[in-house]
Amino acid sequence: MSAFDPAELMTVAAARELRDGQSVLVGVGRPSHAAILAKRTHSPGLILVYESGTIDTDPENIPLSIGDPELAATSVSTVSLPDIFNYWLQPGRIDAGFLGAAQIDRHGNLNTTVIGGYDHPKVRLPGAGGAPEIARSCSEIVVTLPHSKRTFVEGLDFTTSLCRGEGGSMAVVTDLAVLRTSDRHDELELTETFPGVSVEDVLEATSWELKVAPEVSTVAEPSDRELEVLRSLGSKPKAVR
């Protein structure tokens, strides 16, 4: 087992959420790394879809933008934005979706709009993009974000995207742990911790009283193969995104 950093395990853990044959809506950054890692390891039949309209794409290199020429060149089909949003995303034809966020609440709702008030915010974030429709249309959502009281908040400054709730599931992969939606209640619960991270560590990095699953397991360390493929992808995603 090679040495690795938590940012790498975060990507690997996110990749493991995907299953062979699924279609997945991918964004740039960690989502691209995770999805391409999954496709090159356990899920060769994974169907990558970018919201730029590139369907079933298989890029050699990690894209910087979701509209990189290679995504169109290697796609089975490249469609217009009305097509991708209305015919593919909205009717639930894409199984899984990746999202990031600046803030998440106990229900799995996300903020990517502002820190502070809406008018003259402390930090103006990019905004919604396709996140609200991804969150409501894909039945499986994977969120990746760094774990801290700043990101895991009691109340969002702005609700950009809603956790879908029934009929869907969410996995939140951080640099400390994995949290999941549960059938038992409408809150996220801690199901796995990273190696060397205790349940206490996770609770302390969370602003609300985080629910803990009856059994908490430990995320398996990246395999040599996972690390090898991940590192071959280049342009490492930032730990914080």
Binding site: V28, S52, I66, D68, L71, N86, L89, A128, G130
Partner: protein, 271 residues
Amino acid sequence: MFLPLDQAIGDLLNDGDSVAFEGFTHLIPFAAGQETIRQGKRNLELIRMTPDLIYDQLIGAGCARRLVFSYGGNPGVGSLHRFRDAIEHDWPAPLELEEHSHAGMVNRYVAGAAGLPFAVLRGYAGTDLPQHVEVAEIECPFTGERLSAVPAIRPDLTVIHAQQADRRGNVQLWGIPGVQKEAVLAADRSLVTVEELVDEIELKPGGVVIPHWAVTAISHVPGGAQPSYTDGYTTRNNDFYREWDEISRDRDRFLRWLAAEGLADKAEVAR
């Protein structure tokens, strides 16, 4: 209908207009946007799903009064600093926002292109977006299901970049097509900058044709999408996208860049 870019922007874009420079991650009409800065247009309502660097430049240069958008980031890099500075600190001027999700913006263009006053979609419900923007609840007359309605976008002018125009003014673009066809059809007037003038359009795989009578003016501007790209003609200048993070982070550095590019001097921005 064939005009030099400076004349096209001069003739078709007026101070105070609503204008969409569209192109989703591809074919972004940078040259036309920069010509807009050069001509010192003011009080524009800028419409664009992804403001990207092109609107960061227009906003920073003081051209915009209002921004209609759905995602304001530098793709894969981070923040749009001029966009943030305008919203967070009113510099160089306050920026009014009309903020949607991507699906909302897409469907607003679709409604505009289709001559309808609104579009229906699933979305918005439960989010904070409707508190800040015009979204309505609408009931399906057959099932009673409640959905969201968004108003059509009808820009005074839409500007896009494409690969080719033929002698009659038919336009062809290919690669990631985005929402450009809809944005052109939704607009009152349209300007297309193209890489190449050809005798006759020969349809390409993935080619989208906009027939000549839906286009107001065409300007021949090779490389007009740089640092974005034109599939088949130019490549994306990823380095400039990264470099922009540095240029735009600081007001003075940005003003020096504007001056060095011959787009505007400091006095003009503050005007």
